[in-house]
């Protein structure tokens, strides 16, 4: 279950781990991405862009669940990063989420890979 913050409000059940792999700032996402938790991931991408890190890899391999809110975020993040002169890579070795990307055709719009690019 979700934890609660000091004011009693439920905390998003979403974990973000930020690392740097080669040229990419990698955001590994654990937990569930839905319309409640997606704001946390949106803020993380914003922060990276603000820091000038515009080559970003969002790693959905450890993600338990992702719905259309997460897919909407990926499309928005791709555009914002491209506008900033960078690029978004979606790392997804998770068959359920991969199926979602394929089903919606986003596998052809987004740069989806099995691993973070090494270059």
């Amino acid at each position: 279950m979700r934890g609660t913050s000091s004011d009693g409000a439920p905390e998003p059940e979403l974990g973000l781990e930020l690392t740097q792999v080669g040229a990419y700032a990698v955001v590994a996402v654990t937990g569930e991405i839905d319309m409640y938790t997606v704001q946390k991931l949106r803020e993380a991408v914003r922060q990276l862009i603000a820091e000038g890190k515009t080559r970003v890899a969002i790693d959905l391999t450890p993600t338990d669940f992702c719905d259309s809110s997460g897919l909407g975020l990926l499309i928005g993040a791709r555009r914002r990063l491209a506008d900033a002169g960078g690029a978004l890579v979606v790392v997804c070795g998770n068959p359920r989420i991969r199926k979602l990307l394929d089903m919606t055709g986003l596998d052809k719009v987004l740069d989806v890979r099995e691993a973070v690019p090494s270059e």
Binding site: M35, G72, L73, G76
Partner: protein, 169 residues
């Protein structure tokens, strides 16, 4: 919860609830859906699909209420008969059918996040994607409405092993 009313397919609602259109409740709705489906006997391999689909339909309903500045409850109903049926109903009427155009210019529209253009833009994308996901995910999917007086209802069903498939459509 109630079992007094029958749905359009003639099955009594086994579980019925409603929630305020807030993102925090989508998870609860999809977990209840998977649990009720499991108890109904939906195959284990389909439970993820039920969970995802009900979550998508609830997300869509919340976004539709948010677009119209509605605080009305989103209604969810599960019925168990020849098939497991999930119905998610919103109250967001057809804005284009409103000749006054009051809703479209409502001061409540996206009021809470009027300065977060990225979030609003991504929500709009998400609302469109929900139907794409539902269409790809659920074999038996019917979306009715909206019209001038009612919102939309997303009705989905999944087979129950050993039951007659006569309830199909």
């Amino acid at each position: 919860m109630s079992a007094s009313k029958h749905d359009q397919r003639g099955e009594p609602a086994a579980v019925r609830f409603a929630f305020t259109p807030a993102a925090a409740y989508v998870r609860a709705a999809r977990l209840v859906a998977a649990d009720v489906a499991s108890h109904a006997g939906v195959a284990t391999g389909l439970l993820d699909e039920v969970r995802q689909a009900v979550g998508e339909a609830c997300t869509r309903a919340i976004l539709r209420h948010r677009d119209c500045g509605l605080d009305d409850l989103v209604r969810v109903e599960f019925s168990i008969g020849d098939r497991f049926i999930a119905k998610i109903t919103d109250n967001a009427q057809d804005l284009r059918a409103d000749s006054e155009g009051d809703h479209a210019s409502s001061p409540h529209r996206n009021e809470a996040r009027s300065n977060d253009h990225e979030a609003i833009e991504e929500d709009t994308l998400s609302e469109e994607i929900t139907l794409i996901v539902l269409g790809g995910l659920v074999e038996d999917l019917v979306v009715t409405g909206p019209d001038r007086e009612h919102g939309t209802t997303v009705t989905m069903s999944w087979p129950l092993p050993g039951r007659s498939p006569s309830a199909d459509h």
